[in-house]
Symmetry: C2
Subunit: 379 residues, 2 copies
């Protein structure tokens, strides 16, 4: 059986003020092409379908179109779950009715995990659709007061939902699963507690032939190739700048052995950082001028409307930073003795000079002196 694994689609996401709908459409087109070429038996969506529990209308329309393309045009069953970003009720809407169209979806956590059986020549494959759930939700649903972490919750879920190991079994879930090493996280993943109460030990999931995970945005395996994050559809923050996005293709043989291929996804616009002096960047021969950029300027002096100038050349600048200024000036760079021997006024003058590239003028000194006096209660 051939499977495709995607997750963290985040339809309708805004990144630094830019709506990603067209970027998402661009990548979905490639996914459709891959499906047409490789003809999987099913596509798995491992949560965070939408970016928000109440997604904008365009995001709903986008997902609608994607499902229609997969199910009607490409005749490929879809298995999906809700992630922590999704509204469980919205994802659940129509789930019994959709089964007739081979769209299998689980939004809310339920004691009995939704199980879908697909067949290939070698027999059945059981898919377990386990949506994101807080361990407190699991504790209540299972009436199991001993559950005090997500790991406890997963153990209890597995006890209530035993699998038949004589058949092939696949789990689709959305959680922070940790193996030997803590996985990398990016800023656009909702705050995750590394280790601790909010993570699941990968060894708990090793009896599955494949585990399709969502939650982390970097494509990665956890302990083995059998437990994987597909990663997000797109780079959703500059902390993901150096990740390569892909769709995971899994070939599951008759014995439950798998082989993996990562099918690269090319973004409509890359997300990357460029660094340099303003004038240099404005005249640079950059082939990705439409990319989503973080621009770090290394100029020393005053700059007049740098963002407006940059956007004439790079229309999709998302972030603008000044390298030398605040970023490099850290109190810790001063020796302890300097910090003790210099007055507050002198320390501020140092900071001003570093930041503006010129000494603090007399009028400024007076303002600072006066301000510091007021702060100290001296006048």
């Amino acid at each position: 059986m051939r499977l495709m694994h995607l997750g963290d689609l985040h339809f309708g996401k805004m990144v630094n003020g830019f709506l990603m709908i067209e970027d998402q459409e661009f990548v979905l087109e490639q996914i459709k092409q891959y499906i047409q070429t490789y003809r999987p038996d099913a596509v798995m969506l491992a949560g965070d379908i939408y970016d928000r529990s109440v997604p904008p209308a365009r995001a709903v329309a986008l997902y609608n179109q994607f499902l229609k393309d997969l199910l009607i045009e490409l005749k490929t069953p879809v298995l999906a779950i809700a992630g922590n970003h999704d509204g469980a009720e919205l994802i659940d809407f129509g789930h019994e009715l959709f089964e007739a169209a081979q769209y299998y979806v689980a939004g809310n956590f339920t004691k009995t995990i939704k199980k879908v059986r697909l067949q290939d020549d070698a027999g059945p494959v059981n898919f377990y659709l386990l949506p994101f759930a807080d361990y407190a939700v699991v504790r209540e649903a299972l009436n199991h007061p001993e559950i005090k972490s997500l790991n406890d919750a997963m153990k209890a879920i597995m006890e209530v939902n035993p699998i038949d190991s004589t058949e092939r079994n696949v789990l689709i879930t959305h959680a922070f699963v940790v193996g030997g090493e803590a996985p990398e996280q990016s800023e656009s993943e909702k705050k995750l507690v590394v280790g601790g109460k909010e993570s699941v030990d990968a060894t708990l999931l090793e009896h599955f032939d494949y585990v399709a995970l969502g939650h982390l945005h970097r494509t990665q395996r956890v302990n083995s190739d059998k437990i994987r994050y597909s990663g997000s559809l797109l780079k959703y923050s500059f902390s993901e700048e150096h990740y390569h996005k892909s769709m995971t293709m899994i070939d599951l043989d008759a014995e439950g052995e798998i082989s993996i291929e990562l099918l690269p996804l090319k973004p409509r616009r890359d997300m990357r950082t460029i660094t340099g002096k303003l004038d240099e960047l404005l005249t640079l021969e950059d082939e990705g001028q439409e990319d989503y950029l973080r621009v770090i300027l290394t100029d020393e002096g005053e700059l007049l409307e740098p963002m407006a100038k940059l956007r004439q050349v790079y229309p999709n600048v998302m972030l603008l930073e000044l390298e030398r200024r605040f970023s490099e000036f850290k109190g810790s760079q001063l020796s302890a003795s300097a910090r003790q021997t210099k007055s507050t006024e002198e320390l501020f003058a140092d900071f001003y000079e570093h930041h503006r590239g010129e000494s603090l003028h007399e009028a400024g000194k007076q303002v600072i002196e006066q301000t510091i006096k007021v702060m100290k209660g001296e006048c």
Copy 2:
């Protein structure tokens, strides 16, 4: 063919601060009973399924359950459209996929109206699913600049979507359709312009064998029994206090002749007005103490925390009004000469006495005199 017609469900609606979900569940239970008893061939939902374009999760869950009950448990096809309160994209979600489960739905207006063919022993019946659309939207979709009113829009839609009058045809739509007499409107219907640009002349729809309308909350026919509003599921404002809510059952014979029966819907709590003195109402033997009430108090003097006292007996008081006070005191009740001869101070003293049931005391008079001077710019 036997059909059921509902509209203006407004799942998730808040009425005067009370969430109507449980009341809606209560009525849906009766609807299910009727369907079990009368076994219709289809249920038509004529728009305003939700109360808001972004409905709360509980409303989505309620509609999900209702659809599941109708389609899976009762095996009854559902034909639904979006109303002006609905988010068209949300209503449209999955519409192609749902057809396999016999849920036919149209959210967004499209040039070609969605047509669903159902069969009975006498042959096919064509259902046209025409969601709510502003005439400007129709003008653009049809590229027809001559459209300057909803009536123009409906004419153009009918031209683009001709019906075969040798077969039976049913229209489901959500609009303000007017016949010989202007229909009654209630406060909970979104502001409608009577006549004018926002209404459709019923004669335009007379070639259908039945027109299932949504938009107006009172059960009513427009010109003939063939064009009907089912009315809303519940009373959604006190202006609907004296309406009787029902589901409309239509029997359509082989020749396209119809007979109508209204199946009454009993609310979980009635919505009604009670009038009297506070003490009388608190000791009244009222069998509907749980009802949603507007209480009009006829007391003359001061009342201490009347709402708190009333809610001890009538927990679901929605509105509290004082009959004599502001409501009865109208400047027009004074003769024109009185209004001209009395000073502003004297007129206020009259008003105060009427409102409080006692004369304005000396300190109050001084405050008023001072205030009036300030307002006149005299000090």
